[in-house]
Amino acid sequence: MERSLLVAGFGGQGVMLIGKNIGYTASKKDLNATFFPAYGAEMRGGTANCSVVVSDSKICSPVKQELDEIIVMNDLSYEKFAGRVKKGGALYINSSLIEAKYEGDDITTYYVPVADIARKVGNPLVANMVMLGAYVANHEDIDVESMKETIKENLHGKENLIDVNIKAFEEGINLMKGGTQ
């Protein structure tokens, strides 16, 4: 089993945290995982993306040309990356910001209005956790409780934000379980 994921958006959308949480949660399960971040230019806006590979055997390349799954959080990322999902793979789209619709049926697409939900939850900055929830909902091999632990650990020093992040994450799961497409 090897699964590759790319998460892309603009700086400030927290795309890194989505990827890091997925990689870290996998690593706790004795899977191999790699997380590779790519910033447009350091510290400032622009686009950012990260690659996550999870595998039960050795991981060679931490970045791939074609990916099993891609999460895009803004227009630019959609344009740049949507075409790189493997046949049969999945594309997660932040439909609050991205208006485009994917044409073609070789992959599965999920349109997740993460910003809207985040605002509902009370903090527009946790849209990333909504997306994470949506992603996790689709993966039975990712343990929800373990992921919640990860989210908490990665908020070390910002404990006051734990609740809203967890809430957003749960909303993402619910949304998916409810079924969106």
Binding site: T34, F35, P37, I59, C60, S61, V63, K64, Q65, E66
Partner: protein
């Protein structure tokens, strides 16, 4: 601290160094390796060591110079521009036979400041990095785990040969977070004590002088001894990964991150019916040249050096060692463009068709 962690390459190297007995670090910020000094800044004080943020790469290198002369295991880190800036004092440190470890995480270049991975400092590091013809011992890990293991042993190498060890990585290695298991913390008492040369030991009958300045005749002797040491290294200290080399017809040569990426390429090309193997040098100096004497050039029809460098750099050395006994090609990306397995496969297919 846990022995198994999901951790960034840079931080993995830092922790491994601390466990190897490193108790002094000096460095200066530069992407893509900032997490290494940042880690050291809190971790070293925790174990009674010292972190100093140098005012420059050069100052950092010279702090290492001083620390090393006290016999303390010490380290600095940077990227290619920092290696350039350390060059002069590195020459003095190597000439003064001061054991130290340096981690350099390469990024696109030349010049001012691309922050993405590249391998464009190979030739500089291996054939260059300073005046006077002295050389470092160079290790090129391909994964965080290997970086840990090599860093752990690098301090022993530095002490054993009174030399500098360069851990040459890149932005991939530095920034990839992955699973790592750490070796145990070494006891300082068990490390070499260097009483014969370290300047903290005073002996009225034996004036201790750390310098790389000698009158010509003595300097020449030093040069000769250094040359012999490099030859000894080549005989006894080379390391490389042999991945399906033994029956291969196409041999990929790649080091560091590109090496690990190429393992995947080998697997996939084998699946596609090409008999491909991988030679991944782990020591870049001493270089495992002997491998090229053992290759059956009737079988191996093509050697491809894959690097994040254009023009190719490793490929020039490979050509040298192959000495025209078979075809040698280069495929690479550079300037911070990420290399990926797909395009490498494609490139090799194309070479085969030619």
């Amino acid at each position: 601290m846990n022995d198994k962690l999901f951790v960034k390459g840079s931080e993995a190297i830092a922790e491994a160094a601390v466990r190897a007995g490193c108790r002094f670090f000096a460095g200066y910020p530069i992407t893509p390796q900032n997490e290494l000094p940042e880690y050291m800044s809190w971790r070293l004080p925790e174990v009674g060591g010292t972190y100093v943020q140098g005012e420059s790469e050069m100052a950092s290198m010279n702090m290492i110079f001083g620390a090393a002369s006290t016999g303390t295991r010490c380290m600095t880190s940077s990227s290619g521009p920092g290696l350039s800036l350390k060059a002069e004092s590195l020459s003095c440190a190597l000439g003064s036979k001061l054991p130290h470890v340096m981690a350099i995480m390469m990024r696109g270049g030349p010049g001012h400041g691309i922050i993405f991975p590249a391998q464009q400092d190979y030739e500089f590091a291996v054939h260059g990095p300073c005046h006077g013809g002295v050389k470092q011992f160079i290790l090129a890990p391909s994964t965080a785990q290997e970086a840990v293991d090599l860093t752990y042993s690098s301090f022993d190498i530095a002490d054993k040969y009174r030399t500098g060890v360069l851990i040459l990585g890149d932005g991939f290695l530095a920034n990839t977070i992955e699973n790592v298991t750490f070796p145990p913390m070494k006891k300082l008492e068990d490390l070499p004590q260097h009483k014969d040369w370290k300047i903290t030991e005073y002996d009225p009958n034996h004036h201790k002088l750390i310098t790389s300045y000698f009158p010509p005749e003595i300097m020449e002797q030093e040069n000769i001894k250094m040359g012999q040491m490099y030859e000894y290294w080549e005989e006894h200290e080379t390391q490389y990964q042999n991945y399906l080399m033994d029956d291969c017809e196409i041999l990929i040569c790649a080091y560091g991150s590109t090496g690990r990426i190429c393992e995947e390429v080998v697997d996939e090309l084998r699946n596609e019916g090409l008999k491909v193997g991988l030679f991944r040098p782990i020591t870049l100096h001493p270089f495992p040249k002997k491998v090229f004497e053992e290759i059956d050039y009737n079988r191996v029809k093509l050697i491809v050096s894959v690097e994040m460098a254009i023009p190719g750099q490793l490929v020039e050395d490979i050509k040298n060692y192959v000495a025209r006994r078979t075809r040698v090609e280069h495929f690479g990306r550079s300037g911070g463009v990420l290399i990926n397995p797909g395009e490498i496969k494609e490139a090799i297919h194309k070479m085969v068709e030619e």
